[in-house]
């Protein structure tokens, strides 16, 4: 893989000027579609609602794109989200809301650390590790919730999920508030450059003394924490715990990252591309629902979109 990456560097530079992430064109096409067939979806009220709905996915996508930039992947989002939902709502953990939220954050960090331990120390494939971690967490949470069903969400998260600031929902504002500093940080900071270097050529990065392992650990902890934030918003929206929370998070975030022009080892789409893609996917699902399409067609479209985006991306960067 690294060979083709090297060979195509010249082409990639050329591409950078001409090609934008598929998500931009896709969003435009979808908006046009909506304008022609379902203009009601474009009313400011509904658009704001859709953006609000996209916020949890948008947060998860930040974590996923970080992982993919350093040639890793995180498919444990679903398990993390379920775990967070259960921690927040089961009533097992004593203490106030602050303690619950701190617990959830700690849980996320632990999962990230565990993922990173297997990936960095034991050199296990990140796909398998994070899939297995998701399976493990999901199994444990479902088994536990048979003894104690999830209850109400903490009031603070309900407030964040459901309140508005002068007409604008709070959730997308939080998304934006995290997105902008992260974009700036990745562009300007040493860490951001390290991440790019690792993605471009891990062996070269290691040879030049970049703390490769440490950065993988950091990225995986960050990724799990973004999944926790995402779960916070989801729990806040629903207002109570549910075992359905975050079921599609891993797959949708993967789709959004690829659509947003970020793929293994390349952060070309930046932070904005995947964010637009998160909105695009959410808008697409709403559009499909408005056309009366059910779950099967949604799954088919989702699969087709990931495949086509991945193929288009690979075909473009290949010599």
């Amino acid at each position: 893989m690294s060979d083709t990456a090297e060979r195509s560097r010249g082409l990639r530079l050329l591409n950078m000027a001409t090609a934008l992430p598929i998500a931009y064109a896709g969003t435009l096409i979808l908006l046009l579609c909506a304008y022609m067939f379902r203009p009601a979806l474009l009313s400011p009220l509904l658009l704001l609602l859709i953006i609000r709905q996209a916020a949890p996915l948008g947060l998860a996508v930040i974590g996923q794109s970080l992982c993919m930039r350093i040639l890793s992947i995180d498919l444990s989002f679903g398990g993390v989200a379920m775990g967070v939902s259960y921690i927040l709502t089961s009533g097992y953990i004593p203490g106030g809301e602050g303690a619950l939220i701190a617990c959830a954050l700690l849980f996320g960090a632990m999962v990230g650390l565990a993922n990173a331990f297997f990936i960095v120390r034991l050199r296990a494939s990140s796909v398998i590790v994070t899939l297995a971690m998701g399976l493990l967490l999901t199994g444990i949470v479902i088994a536990f919730s048979q003894f104690r069903a999830p209850g109400d969400a903490p009031a603070l998260l309900k407030y964040i999920g459901q309140s508005r600031v002068s007409g604008v929902p709070l959730a997308p504002l939080i998304w934006l508030a995290l997105l902008i500093p992260i974009a700036w940080f990745l562009k300007r900071s040493v860490l951001g450059h390290y991440i790019d270097a690792i993605g471009a050529n891990p062996r070269a990065a290691l040879a030049t003394g970049i703390p490769y392992g440490g950065i993988v650990v950091l990225v995986h902890v960050a990724s799990s924490l973004f999944a926790v934030f995402s779960a916070f918003l989801l729990v806040g929206f629903v207002g109570m715990g549910s075992l359905d929370i975050g079921r599609d998070l891993a797959l949708n975030s993967l789709a959004a990252v690829i659509l947003g022009g970020v793929t293994f080892g390349s952060g070309r789409g930046g932070v904005l591309g995947p964010a637009v893609a998160a909105f695009m996917l959410t808008f697409l699902f709403n559009l499909l629902t408005s056309f009366g399409l059910g779950e099967p067609s949604k799954l088919m479209l989702q699969g087709a979109i990931i495949a086509v985006a991945a193929i288009a991306y690979s075909a473009r960067t290949k010599t």
């Binding site: 296990a124 989702q302 495949a307």
Partner: protein, 310 residues
Amino acid sequence: MIGRVRSRTSRSGIGIITIALPLTMFVILSFTASSFFTAQNLGNVGNQITALLIVSLGQLIVAVSGGVDLSVGSMLSLTSAIIVTFDPAIVIPLAIAAGCVLGAVNGLGVAVFGVHPLVMTLATATFVQGLTLLVSPVPGGVVAPAIEALAHGRLFGLQPSLYWCTAAILLCWLLLSRSAFGLRLYALGANPRNASLNGVKVVGPIIACYVLCSLAAVAAGIFLTARVSTGDPTIGAAFGLDSITAIALGGVQLSGGVGSVPGVILGVVTLGLATNGMNLLGVSPFLRMAATGLLLLGAVSLQRRKTIGV
């Protein structure tokens, strides 16, 4: 020194743990679960692992080439949905055709367009799962008697699952260990660039791998649907990860080039015994899911790779 290096890079991938794990499990279960060591239960284990064995052998072929196929579970479900939905005369050809198409799409995406196998097969898995739900939204339906006989009829008084297992093992072994195709596959999986420079074609064999893997899923789907005598659009959901767990337990390197049929059999038996044991000991099915995750984590930790990441 040479001996040590050779044993470390053994192509079969079978280590001490690969063999010791199923044996230990067998001994422990014989002592702890009273109903384990009975002809009835051992027959059950055989039946339970047949489908997994067939899928895992398919997964082995893809893994040897350096890929992975997460779409086997959806393909299995699709086969089940096809069998109960369409005219019994055409269901098997139809399922095989679907398997060929899915395998070809996966293979083309991976070999021609260079998409990461995980992304490609995850995408097709999602698509096929959607298609399956479209074909047959809810569990149910009737399986034609002729197809049912494939898993219930006894030939020479032996369990039909035995024939399925033997056929799958024999086919896969011939393909990997006794054919030029298998030899090329090991070369491709170990180092695609070297193999290609030595005149091994890359695109064709890789596509063939994914087609064979999807066909294995179709075969498993036919057996499983015939055995339970009804259709279920989510029957294969767990098979993608289970088959990867099984081959990882069997010493197959997911980075390619290392793996063997005996190893996969051992891996499948390990997983089958674990599931059966937890069943007998009354462990909740959800905790069994968690245990599969744990086993998978343990299995991949045993493999030593050089690269960090996917």
